[in-house]
């Protein structure tokens, strides 16, 4: 099954072209230029990975990252940054980003990170399912 990805960046020409290239590689891609809209989209759809620009008007990437992780700690978020400093990277990781990638983005590298995000999400979902089953078994005393 193809990876379901949400791209969030205020540069429309950038994400539209990136989305098109990702779609030709078999990914199911949604886009938005607004971090606020991204928060709503995440409420309505399950994404394998969210690629989120660090610097956007209305709400910056780190703030959006914080809110997204609060909504769903299992969300796999890759930060897109124009200046990948070590400090920013550390701050992003502390807030729960899965990874970060510098613009201009290398698509092969980004694709690899997205596949990794999906695999991580599957592991988390399976773990949650196991825990649910264990809980039921314990409660029923089977």
């Amino acid at each position: 099954m193809s990876e379901k990805v949400l791209l969030v960046d205020d540069e429309k020409d950038f994400i539209e072209t990136l989305a098109e290239r990702m779609q030709t590689r078999g990914m199911d891609v949604s886009t938005t230029t607004s971090a606020k809209q991204a928060l709503e989209m995440v409420d309505n759809q399950a994404y394998d990975a969210i690629v989120l620009d660090l610097m956007m008007p209305e709400m910056d990437g780190l703030e959006a990252l914080s809110i997204l992780k609060e909504k769903n700690p299992d969300l796999q978020i890759i930060l897109l940054t124009g200046q990948a400093t070590v400090e920013k990277g550390i701050e992003a990781m502390k807030l729960g980003a899965m990874d970060f990638i510098e613009k201009p983005a290398d698509l092969e590298s980004l694709t690899a990170k997205i596949k990794k995000a999906k695999a991580k999400k599957i592991v988390l979902v399976e773990k949650k399912n196991e825990e649910s089953i264990r809980k039921i078994l314990n409660e029923k005393g089977w």
């Binding site: 540069e11 020409d13 098109e20 290239r21 610097m55 956007m56 209305e58 124009g82 200046q83 201009p104």
Partner: protein, 222 residues
């Protein structure tokens, strides 16, 4: 010998750094779009190699996007170049209105990030003063930055220029959130030592919600 950075030097450096970083960030964004479109061209060629029909309209579109972003980058480079050269002249005869428009352009990304539109209202005849071009740009930026924090929900700042006897002025309007406390706090910032360097004055009109900067027609270069 102990070298202590002065307030003016520190302010100027901070301004130079902020504007450079912001504009280089814009260049990076344009490069990212060029990169993706160049990649898309590659993808289309591979698809044609595999037997898909070449979509000429698409190729045209991709080419147009690349050209647009190259044009955007060129404009940013011109802006940074002009800005860099503005430090060369400690004193120069400049057009106040043209300087204001230039600073608004230079600070475009900051305005975008704040969701603020900047409108320039210039008189028919240019208002020329002799001053330090770089520190005038710095002062306009400090006031613009302040204006962006105190503008109202409509998020539009109007900057106008004009002439007074022996002076030129720059007026920042539509500052709905301007209060006495906020303005006094702004005036107390170290960075506003630039006012003395330019022999400028700043005042707020709390009723009209405006800030007015007046500058002498000719300053005495420090």
């Amino acid at each position: 010998m102990v070298c202590r950075p002065d307030v003016i030097g520190r302010t100027g450096l901070a301004f130079f750094g902020a504007m450079s970083a912001s504009n280089f960030h814009e260049i990076n964004n344009a490069l990212a779009i060029i990169n993706e479109n160049a990649g898309l061209l590659g993808d289309l060629i591979h698809m044609a190699d595999d037997g898909s029909e070449m979509d000429l309209a698409k190729l045209d579109l991709v080419s147009a996007r690349i050209i647009e972003q190259v044009g955007r980058t060129r404009e940013i480079v011109k802006t940074i170049n002009r800005f860099s050269h503005s430090v060369e002249h400690p004193e120069k005869r400049v057009d106040l209105g043209e300087t204001v428009v230039f600073v608004a352009h230079l600070a475009h990304r900051f305005a975008h990030m704040n969701g603020v539109a900047i409108k320039a209202k210039l008189p028919p005849a240019p208002v020329k003063i002799t001053t330090s071009p770089f520190f005038l740009e710095n002062l306009v930026w400090l006031c613009l930055d302040f204006a962006m924090q105190v503008t109202g929900d409509e998020k539009v700042i109007t900057i106008s220029t004009g002439q007074l006897p022996e002076k030129g002025f720059v007026r920042f309007s539509n500052l709905s959130r301007l209060t006495s406390e906020v303005f006094e706090s702004f005036k107390k910032q170290d960075e506003l030592a630039i006012l003395d360097t330019l022999e400028a004055r700043i005042a707020a009109d709390l009723e009209k919600k405006e800030v007015l900067v007046t500058l002498p027609v000719r300053f005495s270069e420090p």
